[in-house]
């Protein structure tokens, strides 16, 4: 099988770009390249990763300035024609600011920067990002953010829930979604969502930091494997036609 081409966007202030590059490239065994935010074209990538960090120092609002970087025009175009995009942490914030995902990430309810491993429950396994997970599977992944409190108008939340766009929810280690297991105050414990078309995922937890056994956690690998698997299965479907 031909390798999947991942492109990881690098903004000034990104700090998970190399982790994402390593997880999608070396660990997942795919082709992965870093793309500087001043570039105007993504090239021939299959998947775009908007990584975590503090793009533009989080000035004004997290992600508010990054969306004006030249490369973002091509990310919007790529996403618009169904390209696979995953925004992690600051990347999630950037995708909401760019209007690619609904809602917004507010300051954590506790006002504290929370950096620890959390459990998240896989709510929807029929996405291109979760196909190799079990329904309700609990993943152990780290979070590290000060602004991860997902919020949207009640109507938007209802739509997200009805359409199965809530992909991950913060939960306890047994998969129970409780107030205590919500690290930042997100509505309905939301940790990750996809757009209506299902090709754009935004999540606050860091799968790329939970992909190498050397670092202790490997559940994040499933996200990368699911993405890769989704290309294989769509190629098989195509071949069968």
């Amino acid at each position: 099988m031909e390798k999947i081409k991942f492109g990881v966007i690098v903004f000034p202030g990104s700090n998970c770009d190399h982790d994402a590059h390593y997880a999608s490239g070396q660990l997942a065994g795919q082709d992965s390249r870093l793309i500087w935010h001043k570039e105007h074209s993504l090239g021939d990538v299959d998947v775009v990763i908007v990584p975590g960090g503090f793009s533009y120092g989080d000035y004004l609002r997290c992600g508010a300035i990054a969306r004006f970087s030249p490369i973002m025009k091509d990310v919007v175009r790529f996403a618009g024609k169904g390209g696979i995009v995953i925004g992690i942490c600051n990347g999630f914030q950037i995708l909401t600011e760019a209007g690619l995902l609904p809602g917004v990430l507010l300051r954590n309810e506790s006002l504290l920067f929370v950096c620890r491993n959390v459990s998240i429950r896989t709510e929807n396994i029929s996405t291109r990002f979760t196909g190799t997970c079990q329904k309700g599977e609990v993943l152990n992944v780290p979070i590290a953010h000060g602004d991860g409190n997902y919020f949207a108008e009640a109507d938007t939340i209802r739509k997200l829930e009805e359409n199965g766009q809530v992909v991950f929810r913060y939960c306890d280690e047994n998969g129970r979604v409780t107030k205590e297991s919500n690290p930042n105050g997100s509505v309905n414990n939301i940790a990750g969502i996809v757009n209506e078309e299902g090709n754009i995922l935004g999540m606050m937890p860091h799968p790329e930091r939970a992909s190498d056994a050397l670092l202790g956690l490997t559940d994040g690998k499933k996200i990368f494997e699911s993405i890769i698997h989704s290309f294989v299965s769509s190629a098989q479907q195509f071949a069968a036609v």
Binding site: R61, E109, F151, E153
Partner: protein
């Protein structure tokens, strides 16, 4: 030339934990009659415009497109005419 001062504040429907924390501090100072403390941002700028309407329009557009996120924030604009700049 106009001097524009844009105040951006979390919408009323959104909990402002920062404001709540500061409110506790205010109460600790003894000002117990103070309530509804909310924290926002203030952005100032000079705008090269001849008419107040024009400066207002520019301020509004900048706020809509960049300074405020309408999902969570409201903004207000106050303008002052600059002379002799």
């Amino acid at each position: 030339m106009y001097h524009s001062k844009i105040t951006i504040i979390l919408r009323k429907s959104i909990l402002d934990p920062q404001g709540k924390a500061v409110e506790l501090g205010i109460h600790s100072l003894g000002y117990t009659g103070v309530a509804n403390v909310r924290i926002g941002k203030c952005v100032e700028m000079d705008i090269d415009a001849n008419q107040r309407d024009e400066a207002e329009k520019i301020s509004r557009e900048i706020s809509d497109k960049l300074l405020a996120n309408p999902i969570m924030e409201d903004f207000s604009i106050s303008l002052e005419e600059h002379k002799g700049l």
